[in-house]
């Protein structure tokens, strides 16, 4: 077990970062968000040329047979760019639900020819996996709604967990609702006797936990961008005849933030190296809060410009705050630690 990055991961990071720098700078994301946030051209290149969509899928099923730690590196980069692509929802969450079934759909997902979404609320958690869902199955037909589903609007297939089984459905009503995170829209999914195919068993809590482990790396990427961008700004911006970043009041806040990010990196790496419920809960309760704090500090230290629509810092704040809630809040994960870490509450 290592907490460091391997050479292969460094190369993968360089490839993804290079592409995102070209095709997905913050200005481009800003431009898209009000019309159609998802950049499916970019997604095609990421999936087809770099092969990120099939990272978790074994080679015999058409994927790259990589490990969670490579996926984590991709997520760090996508977080840094708040890239509006369905990697986390399709290639991580939906793919992990599908993997134990060995279903042929995995091959299509691996190539990026199809995109899937797990029809589970982003506000559900490994501790309350059913939150936000009222879906039932009867005679092979689904009915009910799921609120707050991420990635559903661009998904070709919805994977619906019901009572320990996973179903694939294509004809549901997907209604996008305004979401706090402009770069990762959520939708209400409604099934009204929708025909569904059972693909296999589903340990939904386990799938969500694997997602949580990896979401910590996306949050690390968000925090890193906020720290780097703020550092660059306070070195440039002058007030009182000197760079704002030379004031001790600012330097100390950034030093503390850096230390939080350093620890978030260790926590994220640990969650992929050892995805035990305890490591995952630690990573998520720490990293979710660090990403939000980093974005809030970034906004404050940019002064008035941080409050404008033109500056991308709001995209990061919105992503960070939404991801803090997604798949369990820091408080939910800390509560789980009471038994996982042996810190029992009052009797």
């Amino acid at each position: 077990m290592t907490l460091l990055y391997s050479e292969v991961e460094d190369e993968l990071r360089a490839a993804v970062r290079g592409l995102l720098a070209d095709r997905c700078p913050p200005a481009a994301v800003l431009k898209r968000i009000e019309s159609d946030p998802h950049d499916l051209d970019l997604w095609k290149t990421l999936a087809g040329e770099i092969g990120v969509a099939g990272l978790l899928i074994p080679e015999e099923l058409g994927g790259a047979g990589a490990s969670a730690s490579e996926v984590a590196v991709v997520l760090e980069e996508l977080g840094r760019a708040v890239a509006p692509v369905p990697f986390f929802t399709s290639s991580v969450l939906a793919t992990q639900a599908l993997l134990p079934t060995g279903d042929a759909l995995l091959g299509e997902l691996a190539e990026g020819r199809k995109t899937a979404a797990l029809a589970v609320s982003f506000a559900a958690s490994p501790y309350r996996p059913q939150r936000g869902s009222s879906v039932r199955i009867e005679d092979g037909r689904l009915s009910g709604t799921v609120t707050g589903v991420a990635g559903a609007d661009v998904a070709d297939v919805l994977l619906v967990p019901v009572d320990g089984d996973l179903y694939a459905a294509e004809g549901a009503a997907v209604e996008v609702v305004p979401s706090l995170d402009l770069t990762r829209p959520v939708a209400t999914v409604t099934f009204e006797g929708t025909e569904a195919r059972r693909v296999g068993a589903c340990d939904l809590a386990g799938v969500l936990r694997s997602g949580v482990a990896l979401l910590a790396s996306e949050q690390l990427g968000v925090a890193e961008w906020c720290l780097d961008t703020t550092l660059a700004y306070v070195k440039e911006r002058h007030q009182f005849a000197r760079p704002v970043g030379s004031f001790q009041a600012i330097k100390h806040r950034l030093a503390d933030l850096w230390l939080d990010v350093v620890r978030a990196r260790a926590a994220a790496r640990n969650a992929v190296a050892d995805p035990s419920p305890l490591s995952v809960a630690v990573a998520q309760s720490w990293n979710a809060a660090v990403a939000v704090h980093a974005a809030e500090e970034a906004l404050q230290l940019h002064g008035g410009i941080g409050m404008t629509w033109e500056h991308p810092v709001h995209l990061y704040l919105k992503r960070a705050k939404s991801a803090e809630i997604a798949l369990g809040t820091p408080g939910d994960h800390r509560e789980a630690l009471a038994s996982l870490a042996g810190v029992p509450g009052p009797e």
Partner: protein, 387 residues
């Protein structure tokens, strides 16, 4: 040298030296066999091999007589690396062996009443008198001076140049006439620190470490070694200051409240991610790619130790204190005493060895590349500085 080879070395050493015999003789022999600090050069207690092999040596020699890392802390962590980097061959041979075996204890004579965070303003004078130096001044916060044989000492030798340039570094003979050690009683009730008064102390020139006027650079080596407190990161989950807090928590279910539970869980998470950072840092060092993370470890531990020890006092609802008797401590023993002591002593964690404010400045400037604040003391001779 690899792990198997070093194990063979240790086995050969143990075949020749009985750990149940005389403790000091055993430690001396261990030093001479190069098994004291394996990354030091041969002949100086080491084998000139990779530092991580020390862990193997420690494992193999567990259960044999050990050095006292508490009372020897300053010698091991600060004096030794400085002597190794700047000492002459004679100095290295004279000082390192008794330093490691603990026959000679070391203290550090840096801070002064007027020079703490701004250490380079120090005023203790050293004036040359043929092949001796005459030292006059006062030092403060000197841990363990009362049982030290030697001190590492920074002095002012040239008041006419800017403050960083006119300093010279010495090894101070704590038994020399004119050295007076007075206990400094601290908030815990005990006196681990001292004031040290130096009056006409004569030090021969062969006790000088580094060149005349190069004292700041030598002192930087000492301070860097002090702050890269990697050893401070608990290796075990639940280790360090969180340990006694969890013990108390388990022992007293009747004292638990929902508020304390929430706070403890948050502190537990912070302790765990800090421990993981330490683990990652150690991996980087082994892979030969030291990251800047080390700069932050002391800062994180100071904050955590203070929060956890304060939590423990509050949790136990004990208005008492274990013992206010004035005493001269051998070393800092956090865990041998009660939560009240831990709480009070941990207040020093954010001051000693560089205040948290200074460490944040260092991170901001050296790691994050932020500009320094305007300086009013630059290029001003030390004697002309306002004070």
């Amino acid at each position: 040298m690899n792990e198997a080879e070093i194990k063979e070395r240790v086995a050969a050493f143990l075949a020749e030296h009985d750990p149940s015999g005389d403790r000091l003789e055993f430690l001396r022999a261990r030093f001479d066999a190069g098994l004291a600090w394996v990354w030091f050069p041969e002949g100086l207690g080491g084998l000139g091999v990779a530092r991580e092999l020390q862990q193997v040596v420690e494992r193999e020699l567990a259960g044999t007589p050990q050095i006292n890392t508490g009372v020897q802390g300053i010698g091991l962590g600060m004096a030794a690396p400085t002597i190794l980097a700047f000492g002459t061959e004679e100095q290295k041979r004279r000082f390192l062996r008794p330093l490691w075996t603990g026959e000679e204890i070391w203290c550090q004579l840096f801070s002064e009443p007027g020079a703490g965070s701004d250490l380079a303003t120090l005023a203790t004078r050293a004036v040359r008198d043929s092949d001796e130096w005459v030292v006059d001044g006062q030092k403060v916060w000197t841990s363990g001076a009362h049982h030290s044989r030697w001190g590492i000492l920074v002095t002012r030798t040239d008041p006419d140049v800017p403050k960083h340039r006119g300093m010279t570094y010495f090894v101070c003979d704590m038994h020399a006439p004119g050295v007076e050690v007075r206990p400094l009683r601290q908030i815990t009730g005990e006196a681990e620190f001292n004031e040290v008064f130096l009056t006409g102390v004569r030090l021969s020139d062969d006790l000088r470490l580094g060149e005349v006027g190069d004292g700041w650079r030598v002192a930087q080596t000492t301070l860097m070694n002090e702050r890269v407190a990697i050893g401070g990161a608990p290796v075990r989950r639940g280790g360090g200051m969180v340990g006694p807090v969890l013990d108390a928590w388990h022992a007293h279910p009747e004292l638990r409240t929902h508020d304390l539970h929430q706070r403890l869980l948050a502190l537990w998470v912070e302790a765990e991610v800090t421990r993981l950072s330490g683990a990652r840092l150690r991996e980087q060092l082994v892979a030969g790619q030291p990251g800047p993370e080390g700069s932050g470890m002391k800062l994180s531990f100071a904050k955590l130790n203070q929060a956890l020890s304060g939590f423990e006092v509050e949790f136990e609802r004990d208005l008492g204190y274990d013992d206010w008797t004035f005493r001269r401590s051998e070393d800092v023993d956090f865990y041998g005493r009660g939560p009240g002591y831990r709480y009070l002593r941990a207040k020093g964690n954010s001051i000693e060895g560089g205040t948290s404010e200074i460490l944040r400045n260092i991170i901001a400037e050296r790691v994050l590349g932020l500009p320094s604040e305007p300086r009013v003391d630059k290029d001003v001779p030390w004697k002309d500085l306002p004070r």
